[in-house]
């Protein structure tokens, strides 16, 4: 058998989630194994490979065999992969989740995906500009600077139909045109990388996995608009993304893709990274601009829009990370190729962070127009543990929950908005019958209440009143008329808040009332939480017929609330019980009953 050690290449996914699952140890294990055996097999790193539910992920590319992806790799498995696959030339099929030329069950995760934004994610080393260039990177910029006028770029963007991926879905080409047509020599471009939705990580994965794609898109925008300076405003908690961006900026300056007289075109452009300081409202464009200027990040009234009066009162174009990452692809492949995906009003693809009660959760990119059902059940593989789908939350704190009756809608801006939710930036959290919708509404409202900047009375005080009511309902003290009070307050906040935070803060509450009113009613009238989530509404009891007196629950209870003779039925003292659920988990006979 031929020695395959140098005809293979090993790539470990080292994004934040990979590292969390132990990928760094797996990487080291390969290093050690290669050293001990004296193998010179190249060992690389990459960003999010996409199958986040199977982390740690390792790709082995072998000449003649193609690409094999191993999932859930442990340090112990590394020796066998090296011995059998890299040395022996035979993939270890039992550890594989994807194999070129053979259909494994997890392939269903990719069937419906179209990866344009994520074209390089999980394939290239994000810290290598050479790998980016080899994958076609900076072709779009080269084409834009050497073959196209700014007007042609704007026209291409308009024709592509790309709409902003930060949430509001404003047509990007139109926005660029507005900034381009403003008088004045000094203009700015900004990347909104503040990713605020507290359950989503699309932008982080793009920045960590393919930072050059965002830089390239930004530079094309700067040329189209006539900006000489750009800023990337990154969320405070994204240290790895910031490090990779800074590295990408330095590397592209060195290669002449940034800086003075880019590619000999006479166009010059510089980029700086600004780190946020922890305020969700700074994702709003006018607040973000205030923050870049070194002020408190408070939104201001629009118009004037940033395109007319933005950073330092100059015309400014601001787009989301994913929006910019689409740009090089569109310029390289043409507007028509992009517009071939999607629906009449929503073109191209959208990246979602598919999470929650889902079998295959991760970063997915699907063409617009696919149904929610297909994303959840085909891409995501449905609900785990034989549970039942209940709702999917789209758009985070500004969005809403879409119930089963609407999951056949197409994913496009208009259809999603009709359900009361919003497309949002791409958070997609799946919930099953054990998720309490009142609790979820309370969760989001708590978040927006904390993050309100305080400028508008209704946003500041109204959300607090709503939260008090929800607290009351979830702790079993809901009153007659609370639902109506929530609806009324919600409407008032929507209509009298200045920025999108306040205007959309009631959405999670209003949509759950709209679709799950019965759950609110059960909490208020029957003091019952149908999903068994709201602790104050639960009671723990032991079924005397099922209890065999094994005493496991007695040992599990941290507060000594369970008592009983060995081999005799046990009882729970409901006064002492803190509803920690430990006894139910400990019992092997399902004798602990929660109601």
């Amino acid at each position: 058998m031929p020695d395959q050690s140098t005809s293979s290449r090993v790539t470990v996914g080292l994004s934040s989630c990979g590292v969390a699952a132990g990928a760094a140890q797996v990487y080291e294990a390969f290093r050690r194994e290669f050293d001990e055996r004296g193998l010179s097999t190249p060992l690389r790193r990459t960003g999010c490979i996409g199958m986040c539910y199977r982390e740690p992920l390792v790709d082995v590319d072998t000449e003649g065999l193609g690409r094999v992806t191993y999932g859930g790799v442990t340090e112990e498995q590394v020796a066998r992969i090296v011995q059998e696959h890299i040395v022996g030339g035979k993939p270890v099929e039992e550890f594989a989740v994807r194999m070129e030329g053979k259909r494994l069950p997890d392939e269903a995760y990719y069937d419906r995906q179209v990866r344009l934004v994520l074209r390089n994610a999980g394939l290239i080393d994000p810290e290598s500009i050479d790998e980016y260039i080899e994958a076609g990177g900076y072709e779009g910029l080269t084409k834009a600077l050497t073959e196209m006028t700014p007007e042609e770029i704007v026209d291409t963007m308009k024709a592509s139909g790309l709409r902003g991926r930060g949430g509001a879905g404003f047509p990007s080409g139109v926005k660029w045109d507005l900034a381009r047509q403003q008088p004045g020599d000094v203009k700015y471009v900004i990347v909104n990388a503040d990713e605020g939705d507290p359950g989503a990580f699309m932008d982080r994965s793009v920045l960590e996995g393919d930072p050059h794609s965002v830089l390239e898109g930004l530079t094309i925008a700067a040329y189209a608009i006539g900006a000489a300076e750009g800023y990337i405003y990154a969320r405070a908690e994204y240290p790895l993304a910031v490090r990779r961006l800074k590295m990408a900026i330095a590397d592209s300056e060195e290669r002449g893709f940034l800086g003075m007289d880019i590619l000999g075109s006479g166009f010059s452009f510089r980029v700086k990274v600004k780190e946020g300081a922890g305020a969700f409202v700074c994702g709003e464009e006018t607040a973000l601009i205030a923050s870049v200027e070194g002020k408190r990040g408070m939104p201001r009234l629009r118009p004037p829009f940033p395109a007319a009066k933005g950073l330092w009162a100059k015309p400014t174009n601001i787009n989301n990370v994913e929006t910019y990452a689409n740009v090089p692809w569109i310029i390289t492949n043409g507007a028509a190729a992009y517009a071939a995906y999607g629906t009449e009003t929503s073109k191209g693809t959208k990246v979602f962070a598919l999470t929650g009660k889902i079998v295959r959760g991760g970063l997915v990119e699907v063409p617009m127009g696919i149904s929610l059902r297909d994303v959840i059940f085909e891409v995501g593989g449905g609900i785990p543990d034989g549970r039942k789908f209940k709702a999917v939350q789209l758009g985070g704190p500004s969005g809403g929950c879409v119930p089963e009756e609407h999951i056949d809608i197409k994913i496009d801006y208009e259809s999603v908005t009709k359900t009361g939710a919003i497309m949002g930036s791409g958070g997609m959290v799946v919930m099953d019958d054990r998720t309490c919708m009142v609790d979820i509404a309370r969760f989001f409202l708590q978040f927006t209440q904390d993050e309100s900047c305080g400028k508008c009375t209704f946003c500041r005080v109204g959300t607090k009143r709503m939260l008090e009511i929800l607290d009351r309902i979830t702790s079993g003290e809901g009153r007659e008329g609370d639902i109506e009070r929530l609806e009324e307050l919600g409407q008032q906040i929507v209509s009298s808040s200045l920025c999108g935070l306040g205007q959309s803060a009631p959405n999670p509450v209003l949509t759950t009332i709209r679709y799950f009113r019965d759950e609110y009613e059960a909490h208020i009238h029957e003091k019952r939480c149908p999903a068994l989530t709201c602790k104050p509404l639960l009671t723990y009891e032991i079924d005397p017929d099922k209890c065999i007196g094994c005493t496991l629950c007695v040992r599990a209870c941290p507060v000594g609330a369970v008592s009983g003779e060995r081999k005799g039925p046990h009882v729970i003292d409901t006064e002492l019980c803190t509803k920690c659920d430990a006894c139910r988990k400990a019992c092997k006979f399902e004798a602990v009953i929660v109601s």
Binding site: S15, S16, C17, V19, A20, A21, G22, A24, Q25, C52, Y53, E55, G196, D197, P198, G199, A200, F201, R204, S205, A236, E237, Y238, K274, E275, G276, A277, G278, A279, F280, S291, V292, E293, G294, K295, R296, G297, W312, A353, T355, G356, K357, G361, G362, Q393, G396, G427, V429, M431, T435, I440, F443, F444, F447, C453, C580, D581, A582
Partner: protein
């Protein structure tokens, strides 16, 4: 981190750190936030004496500095523990039971959210989404992330952290 002095007095080292940073940033536009970030990075937190010194040296009015610093949740006015525990309270983690994990961590250490243990070992913070929702619920101690946690595992992790040779990484 030289955070030994109380909030009322600053050590000469701390003052010279501030002076150096202010000098470095003073010529840049919109530099107040990066300047505060750098000072906090090196001193650990922003007590009033330090902010007053920044005001004095930079010429920015103290009211503006306090105003900006208090607006952003990243800035701390109290010293922090040697290790920072960040418990994720993002949506995915919430749906998978993060509330019980937060409770377990706080109870195990005897602190409230945002608090620091008496021995100064840990500060417990809650954050929204650590970017590994597929491993929810998640906590992070300094740079180490732990995923797919039960409340009991979370207790064990904080109880044993820093006592044995724990390298981190989720035993998911």
């Amino acid at each position: 981190m030289a955070n030994t002095a109380g909030p009322d007095v600053a050590t000469p080292e701390q003052l010279s750190v501030v002076d150096r940073i202010v000098a470095e940033f003073s010529t840049l536009r919109g530099a107040l936030i990066p300047m505060l970030q750098q000072v906090q990075e090196e001193i650990g937190y922003l007590p009033p004496v330090i902010m007053e010194r920044i005001a004095e040296r930079s010429g920015v009015p103290p009211a503006r500095i306090f105003g900006v610093a208090s607006f952003y949740s990243q800035f701390r006015f109290e010293p922090v523990g040697r290790h920072i525990i960040r418990v994720c309270e993002g949506t995915a983690c919430h749906v998978q039971g993060a509330v019980d994990v937060v409770e377990a961590v706080c109870d195990e250490l005897g602190v409230a959210e945002g608090g620091t243990t008496e021995d100064g070992k840990f500060t417990v913070e809650t954050v929204a989404c650590l970017g590994c929702c597929s491993l929810a619920p998640v906590i992070m101690i300094d740079e180490d992330t732990f995923g797919r946690l039960t409340p009991e595992q979370a207790r064990d992790i904080v109880r044993n952290y820093g006592t044995a040779g724990d390298e981190g990484g989720a035993k998911a």
